[in-house]
Symmetry: C3
Subunit: 338 residues, 3 copies
């Protein structure tokens, strides 16, 4: 594994993460041109993307580089991600060769691979992204794996700093939201880790049965505590939002029903009021707390359109900041002086 | 809406359109390098493309910029285009967020969105492209919407000028053609508007029941008249082509059958002789009128192969001119000095 | 047809191929920057790709150019490849227009088109790539057609030279391998032609009934003989590998069963031991012969994982060399000084 892989925010030292955020602020102000001339990023998308692809491709271009966009199973070959396997089935390309070959063409790899929704005991090991990192001798960037979406986390952190100024001790509420599908936990875990990095009072408001993986709670609490913040878990959504500086509604599926979507749907029933409404936003700190989301967001399901279109929404800033934090990250791991 | 959106040719002043065509001729001669350095165009394709994608991507590259190519529902998320909706169905990303986010990454947006073929009363409002323009604070370029394909129109106009020299009063025949499918009216309407802009004698030859939208006729006639030309509608295909300087065969579906493809197919029966043949081309002005088409064209169905491969064909020039008019358009709406 | 089309290695003079290989070695050492500024390559993929797309796109970028990636039937229109046809079926774009239009946008075209698996008598004429070459007035590069994969052949030749030094008279074994599907013969034929170009003792080890097309044998033998080598065909796999300097296991379908996959599957039965094992690799020259493959490879089916991951494997070098030979080829056919 390269020393410069970016697979999870908590695997980089807080100093390095702060360095990235500072660099992101500088590139956003236009203080740094170039740095990625003749550099190539190979992006591997096993799952769809709008912001991630657009912002990575733009980031490489703005600094003189180029991003390749590969989609295994579509324009590219169906990928085998298990290591010990006799490949006489339907997969055509093995992850070992893919990682090694792309590392010959590119200066960094970036991989998106959502959980397949079969067995959480397996998925929680995050093998696909870890194996890319193991077999690539160039840095690997996580564009959302089964467990983490650290580029989103960086963008969340930059947005929180821009909107709140000093963040230590301010309240960040990760609010579970109802959604027609059982979604992964990578984004909520990464958002809470980002807030923990900022030393915030992290509150996770979710219905009973909707806990994140225990290791995620440990990672969030350990980081938050070390940075002057804390972690609280509650099932009182209104109480959590009352006085919050930032509310981050996000849906995820119950891990106890992982791989059984019908059970999960039944378990989810009756929880459609876990939605970020304008009324709830008025109870935030000074009535001016910000509403956050990684996007894409289900309008009027996770967040009311009135909130998304209103002055407290920070969701477009978050999306824009994906670009700037990734420019910083790419300069750091693949740049000429890196 | 940005002042620089390019959604329909007739929405720009004739002077601005003439300026674009003059600039296109200059870039085609190689007189202008650069101008789009560090500029990004975000292209959103809801429908397939060969020329449009290739020529836009090449246009950005030739002047130092970069084009992103997004395909909602394929590599990118399924897009919701209705404004007031509770998104608990199958669409994942809302057009408002998509437009706002892309406007943060890119210097201009470009959108292709064909009609969905359900209800003309709705489709004729051209909501998808209009909503992109409404919610993007960067210029939006129409790459073919339900109603218009103005980049094709610009290319058609440049090609007519190159082949015919002075165009005022010369005869342009938009000839309906049989086709195995009911196609949209965006291209024929835009071609006729382009010829109207050039002050041509515009003749639309179509079987009874195959009229364009009444507003299209008004737009064509108003523009043609103001520029020294005229509009005539006829069901006599041979009489129309006789003496024509340019013939533009193109198929479109009967609007009275919009959304009912089986009815349309029955209505279309017996009209396979609405085809541009070599015999018909010999009756054009001096036997030297040009044959035009936006491509892709059904060989030996809309136009005979003999015509496509013969000396009167201008179809490849039209396709090439897509590149040059779009270079001019991009320099105008997103260029460094724009 | 352009004088600079690259459709099959044996259609270029040996001196020109040696020139390409020498240029490839120079660009690999970093001795040549630029040369493709403002140049565009239009790539048409009718079939999937990882290395080909990534390496071509990277090659263009590294020298200042840009590659378009089109996929007919997916983002682009369904392509008609038959010349004389009334297009009233499902295909939308004709190959003549596609070739002519792309030749207006781009400085070179590159096409991947696998055999469709219906009739070898037709497929062996390689019409799709030949028609692109016929109708494009810009150079056309073969990215794997029904008959040839000459860019892979160039990469194979460069890799053999790098690993073996002087190649004349050294033994190159093309070893048929079992595979769950009947694959095309383009890669094995092109690999043998590459070894023939290097004057090697070419041995093709395949089970009875798995001969390449007779014209391929003629091409290999003629070239090998003229360059100081030879061609031998055998069904003794172990005897062939014993003492070999390079072993290239590769699967292909029996041409006698072409278009009848069920018959081919039955014919293939009982041949799973046609696999490159570590034991077999130990019998190569000095126990140090190299194992080659074009990738993607079926792990533990065509080649054992132990061989792929071991010190005798050259497969990742081959993949890397795709990049460098293509940089040379693109500079040659589309470069500023070409």
């Amino acid at each position: 594994m390269s020393g410069r892989d970016f697979l999870a925010m908590e695997e980089w030292s807080p100093e390095m993460v702060d360095g990235l955020l500072a660099l992101a602020a500088r590139v956003k102000r236009g203080e740094l041109l170039g740095g990625l001339e003749r550099k190539v990023l190979a992006m591997v998308f096993m799952d769809p993307s709008l912001r991630t692809r657009s912002s990575m491709e733009t980031a490489m271009f703005l600094h003189g580089g180029h991003a390749l966009c590969l989609e295994p199973g579509k324009g590219s070959w169906a990928l085998e991600t298990e290591l010990d396997v006799v490949m006489d089935g339907t997969t055509v390309e093995h992850i070992i060769e893919m990682a090694r070959v792309l590392a010959r063409y590119a200066d960094a790899l970036a991989v998106r691979s959502f959980p397949k929704g079969t067995d959480w005991a397996v998925e929680r090991e995050d093998r696909t992204i870890r194996n890319f990192a193991k077999y690539s001798d160039k840095p690997v960037i996580n564009l959302e794996s089964s467990r983490r979406h650290p580029c989103q986390g960086l963008a969340d952190a930059l947005t929180l700093r821009e909107h709140l100024g000093e963040t230590t001790g301010k309240r960040f509420v990760l609010q579970w939201a109802w959604h027609p599908k059982a979604l992964p936990t990578a984004v909520p875990a990464s958002a809470a880790i980002a807030a923990a990095h900022l030393g915030m009072e992290v509150v996770i408001a979710r219905p009973a049965g909707y806990d994140l993986d225990p290791d995620d709670y440990t990672a969030i609490e350990t980081l938050a505590t070390s940075r002057g913040g804390s972690l609280t878990i509650t099932d009182e959504v209104d109480g959590a939002i009352d006085g919050a500086h930032a509310v981050y509604p996000k849906s995820w599926g119950a891990l106890s029903c992982f791989g059984r979507p019908d059970d999960e749907r039944a378990f989810r029933e009756g929880k459609r009021d876990w939605r970020l409404t304008a009324a709830r936003m008025r109870t935030t700190a000074g009535g001016k707390g910000i509403a956050m989301h990684c996007l894409p967001v289900r309008r009027n399901v996770e967040i009311d359109g009135e909130v998304l279109d209103g002055p407290q929404s920070a969701v477009i800033d978050q999306a824009e900041n994906r670009l700037h934090v990734q420019r910083a990250l790419l300069l750091e791991v693949a740049g000429r002086t890196s």
